[in-house]
Amino acid sequence: MSDTFPRGRTAIAGLATFGVGEMPGFSSMELTAQAATLAVTDAGLTFADVDALYICQPDDFFAGLSFAEYLGLRPAYTDNNRTGGSAFMSHMASAALALEAGYIDCALIAYGSNQRSNGGKLATRITSNTWDAPYAPLFPLTSYAIAAARHMHEYGTAREDLAAVALAARAWANTNPEAFARGPLTLEDCLSSRMISTPISVRDCCLVTDGAAAVVMTRTDRARDLPRPPVPLLGAAAATWWNSIAQAPDVTVTAARESGARAMAMAGVTPRDVQTAQLYDAFTINTILFLEDLGFCPKGEGGRFVSDGTIAPGGSLPVNTNGGGLSCCHPGMYGLFAIIEAARQIRGEAANQLPGIDLALAHGNGGTLSSQATVILGSMATL
């Protein structure tokens, strides 16, 4: 199957984050609505221009309805796709197709959670399925631990390699004022941190923060006339291979292999062309798996790839340049934040701005390595 996709025909016209870190006293809806307001304003538009809503909240299964009501919208199309943290990349794919078809004119994609201030618990009610639940895996952590343990067994990946992912994320975060976790972090800190579900320890896990994010998408020809630099969407693909990790044919290979290859084919690029990658790092093993599955290094080489500073500041492939879910923010789901960091790099306004970024990849992960979705963003020069 070869995909058809309206390469570059739609673009991010506005974006915003709000309340990243700690925002006590705000509901998830309030944080999300504030991010949405900022993103629509950033695009030089108003709520009256928005005719499609894409949203997936942690604590509201009817979020599309609640959010439309809250903002005073009457969307012609509302999408509550819920594939976990990859949902936002899928939202972009759907929005691009609907925009290109002329079915909608302006899409608002939003997410927010007060997960940290609301007690630090995962606000979602998602749990293990009935077959896995009797064995009490920590959800979702143990599933990632099972993947990491097998990766170590097959490829010799070491805890030091996992730690290298956390150290790179922290190094980026340390120069990003928006990042929640800043300050020194050493290899020894990582290796001696409390073991939760072997081989994953505290420092292998993403943060629990508050935060909200929103992007506005229009057709690129319209975005050209709006105040901010358009960030064209060159390719977007999603792939779902399982829900429970027990059903993965190979827990060291994720559907990112498919979503990445398809998205890059749509964009007409290869991994070598990607100047920065924003990868959903719920756990340190994620970054390693996605670097492999997206084609930045061969399967099994991810640990060695990250261990020599390749993804850290100054490395040849800057990854998670905001600090990622490990050190910037992780309000329940991180996907939209990865998209926004990629878009900021292209707009030239990232906290850790890299020189001359024309092509960035953002990759989302949902469930227990279950649902993968990849978007390729470019500058206007890539059209």
Binding site: D132, P134, A136, P137, L138, H153, S197, T198, S244, I245
Partner: protein, 122 residues
């Protein structure tokens, strides 16, 4: 008459560990109403031999004095994979690749499928 999930649990409660087999011989778990991947043909029940190999695992640490417990993925000899727990092992002895055998603890609705090292397993 019941759905396959209830059928499987009822059998487990009676001390029997069942799997399904697709027309091409592939073992299927968890039990389904349709052949995964094609939807063509019917799934037939059969009794699992109960032997398998540890594919991956994690030990979950708990606040003392509670002991750590493991969660393991088991590759059954028939080909299906499932999540379970291996009993009678510790963090030193439980390894990926270890041969294990199934046993059912409890009766009726309390029944749970567990594994222990196969006789002669290192």
């Amino acid at each position: 008459m019941s759905g396959p999930e209830t059928y499987w649990r009822t059998a487990l409660g009676d001390g029997r560990f069942l799997l399904q087999r697709a027309p091409d011989g592939t073992a299927v778990f968890p039990p389904r109403v349709a052949v995964p991947g094609s939807g063509v043909g019917t799934l037939e029940w059969f009794e699992a031999c109960g032997r398998g190999t540890v594919y991956s695992l994690s030990w979950i640490n708990r606040r003392a004095p509670a002991e750590p417990y493991n969660v393991a993925l088991i590759d059954l000899d028939e080909g299906a994979r499932l999540m379970s727990r291996v009993e009678g092992v510790d963090a030193e002895s439980l390894k990926i690749g270890m041969r294990v055998e199934a046993f059912i603890e409890g009766k009726g609705e309390e029944a749970i499928l567990l594994f222990r090292p196969a006789e002669g397993a290192a």
